[in-house]
């Protein structure tokens, strides 16, 4: 094999369903175009930092382009807030490079370890979705290597806007994004003013979120997924906005744009499966709830504390052991609060345990047919893979479908084709655009094979 090709067994962040592919490292736009033209029967796919939980960035038996080597920041226009970057640039890098210019990445998910290409492909969202939308809403243009090996420059409202929006949320199946132009937000600091409050149960939580969510730029709730009965859905809300320079305590004021995001250690690969069980999860959920203040207003927090608490520990997915885990994330429309409650009850009563439980309200969605966010309530839980999980997930699928909701492809690792098609009514529209751009299915992933995308 040539030097930059190697055979590698890949999984998603959940470390389930390993498959083997030939991986092309240190790509250039030219070598990517060549690889696309020469792709064999098993096709080709771009992979970023591998944070999709399931099989979205795997291509069994085919070619996978490791995009992390294509990582130049080409230009930063401080006044206009516009940056041009390679698709392999991580949001971590982008934040570090843009902050000195007073620019902030407008959509940040729960980790900074995702590439710009991956962020577009999954149309990621953050705690500010209800005011800022998803990642695709901030892309001004992108260069896409299509199935013919040609590079097309796409814009949201240009002549090929349908391909642009099919690529946003398109899970990498329309082509390979090599470069993107993004609009960033001006900011005075890299800190946040945060209000923390506890909610006694799910109804209390939803009432608080519905009451004044729009007053905050960022809003998210961690909830207890183990407690049942009267305290089911008890939660800790953290909501806030970017700190202005005047909001900061004096010692931070001298360097308000400092990238303050420590990583303490990396988890070793020694954890047994089953470490996270009913007893440990109950204890964790209890502690997490109790350690939060009942109410605290106006606290200044740094990037890690507020945005990415999990980034403190590298490779934290190893804690789940060899059997791995999955994340179930869904959204149901406003007005379907009953279905939402039943989903939470189904999880709490199932005996399956989760420690990372996130709940938030989404704002309006965008024009992308496969984009996940839609107005409504979204919830995510991390569940260790184990016997009986199929039953819980299928129950949740039915509840979500019944409420007109959907699950998030970047998190999914087990849904079937039929269920997915019912969740995404605009799937056929997306398929049409994809079929026109890639008639022979050159771009393919394990996810695409599993759910017949």
């Amino acid at each position: 094999m040539p030097q930059n090709l190697s055979s590698r067994t890949l999984t998603g962040w959940g470390r389930t369903s390993p498959t083997t592919a030939t991986v092309l490292t240190d790509p250039t736009p030219e070598s990517i175009a060549d690889a696309v033209r020469g792709a064999g029967r098993r096709g080709i796919l771009a992979r970023g930092l591998g944070r999709a939980y399931g099989d979205a960035a795997q291509n069994a038996g085919g070619l996978v382009v490791d995009m992390t080597g294509l990582d130049r920041v080409h230009s930063i226009d401080a006044d206009g807030g516009v940056v041009v970057v390679d698709a392999g640039v991580s949001l971590d890098t982008l934040m570090r490079r843009a902050l000195p210019f007073g620019l902030w990445v407008p959509v940040l998910p729960g980790t900074r370890q995702v590439t710009v290409g991956g962020a577009i492909a999954a149309d990621i969202h953050g705690k500010n979705h209800h005011v800022a939308g998803s990642f695709g809403d901030h892309v001004l243009a992108m260069d896409l290597v299509t199935a013919s090996g040609e590079t097309r420059t796409l814009t949201p409202d240009g002549p090929e806007s349908d391909l642009f929006w099919a690529t946003v949320g398109g899970m990498g199946l329309t082509g390979i994004v090599v470069r993107a132009t993004l609009r960033l937000e001006p900011t005075e600091s890299a800190y946040f003013v945060v209000d923390t409050e506890r909610a006694a149960d799910l109804d209390d939580l939803m009432a608080r979120l519905a009451a004044d969510d729009d007053a905050y730029t960022y809003s998210v709730a961690w909830f207890d997924s183990v407690a049942t009965g009267a305290s089911m859905g008890r939660a800790v809300l953290t909501r806030g906005w970017a700190a202005r320079r005047d909001d900061l305590p004096r010692k931070l004021r001298s360097d308000p744009l400092r990238f303050d995001a420590p990583k303490l250690f990396t988890a070793p690969p020694v954890f047994p499966s089953g470490l996270l069980n009913r007893a440990t999860a109950r204890a964790f959920n209890e502690v997490w709830f109790r350690k939060a203040p009942a109410e605290r207003r106006g606290e200044v927090q740094n990037i890690t504390t507020f945005f990415h608490p999990l980034d403190i520990v590298g490779e934290w997915n190893r804690v789940y052991g060899a059997r791995g885990f999955l994340q179930y994330q869904f959204v149901v429309p406003f007005g379907e609060e009953d279905a939402f409650r039943r989903c939470v009850a189904a999880i709490a009563d199932s005996g399956h345990v989760s420690c990372l439980n996130v709940l938030k309200r989404f704002g309006p969605g965008n024009a992308a047919p496969l984009s996940f966010p839609a107005p409504g309530w979204t919830l995510a839980v991390d569940l260790p893979a184990g016997p009986g999980l199929t039953t819980l997930c299928t129950t949740l699928d039915e509840l979500v479908l019944g409420a007109g909701g959907r699950i998030y492809l970047a998190k999914d690792s087990r849904v079937d084709a039929n269920t997915l098609a019912r969740m995404y009514p605009r799937l056929d529209e997306w398929r049409k655009v994809r079929a026109a751009a890639d008639p022979h299915g050159v771009f393919v992933s394990d996810l695409a094979r599993r759910v017949s995308l």
Partner: protein
């Protein structure tokens, strides 16, 4: 593709009328909609198997397969993989034969070797190629505890299973870099058509119990399993029992 909770979408059963193999398919079909390919000789029994799996909502196709003609195996597997990737392949064909005849009658001995060993290797080589190409999948090889230590009562059968067991155990290592999982399954005495009329050995199991072990092995990517599980320790002990004692044991 096998999903994160270990549910496959497609299963190929080589030895399409194997009771253990069909029990495995039925167990997978209980949690998911399956595409099933049965490789077998045409017979009434295979038609029954198809009907049974269709009742379990499986999409079933048959490809003709004759273990005794290895030169036809490549074409059989081409057909089996023609409709797409195969997530789980179960190699479940085999014959028990008449054990007294098997060590005295050359034809009977070679029949056991041809089916249980030669054909198993032939299919294993070809499957290795197919699964490497697709870069994923689980391959389940039905071995037997009879291959772990020779017994007077069934040593010809045991010797063929010992051969295929070592072959697939080696294949486990050879295919690992290709992302392919191989599980060698060693059942004890299983109540099936094959063993009707034989006196059941201790720790005997039903095909459904073996299926449970197989499905668990696929889900957890385990490479060597016994059915029932405690047989692992029984066999470990038995391997070291001196011959004068071993031949007197009621096993």
């Amino acid at each position: 593709m096998i999903d994160a909770v270990g549910n496959p979408q497609s299963v190929l059963l080589i030895g399409g009328t194997s009771e253990i193999g069909l029990a495995v398919v039925a167990k997978f079909a209980a949690t998911t909609r399956l595409r099933v390919v049965l490789a077998a000789r045409p017979s009434d029994r295979i038609d029954e198997a198809v009907a049974r799996l269709r009742r379990l909502r499986c999409d079933v196709t048959i490809v003709p397969f004759d273990a005794r003609t290895p030169q036809t195996h490549a074409a059989t597997l081409d057909k089996a993989f023609a409709d797409g990737d195969i997530d789980v392949t179960v190699v479940a064909f085999g014959v028990l034969g008449d054990q007294e005849k098997a060590w005295t009658d050359l034809g009977a001995a070679l029949e056991l070797v041809d089916v249980n060993y030669t054909a198993a290797v032939s299919v294993g080589v070809l499957l290795g190629r197919k699964l490497t190409e697709q870069g994923h999948g689980s391959l389940v090889a039905m071995s037997s505890v009879a291959g772990e230590r020779a017994r007077r009562s069934n040593f010809v059968y045991g010797s063929t299973k010992a051969g295929m067991d070592v072959f697939y155990s080696g294949l486990t290592e050879a295919l690992r870099p290709a992302g392919v999982h191989v599980a060698v399954v060693r059942p004890g005495f299983v109540h099936t058509r094959m063993t009707t009329g034989l006196k059941a050995a201790p720790l005997s199991v039903t095909p459904e119990q073996v299926a449970e072990v197989v499905v668990d092995a696929v889900r957890r990517r385990r490479e060597l399993v016994w059915a029932p599980a405690p047989l692992r320790f029984v066999m470990s002990a038995l391997r070291h029992v001196p011959r004068p004692i071993f031949r007197r044991l009621p096993v």
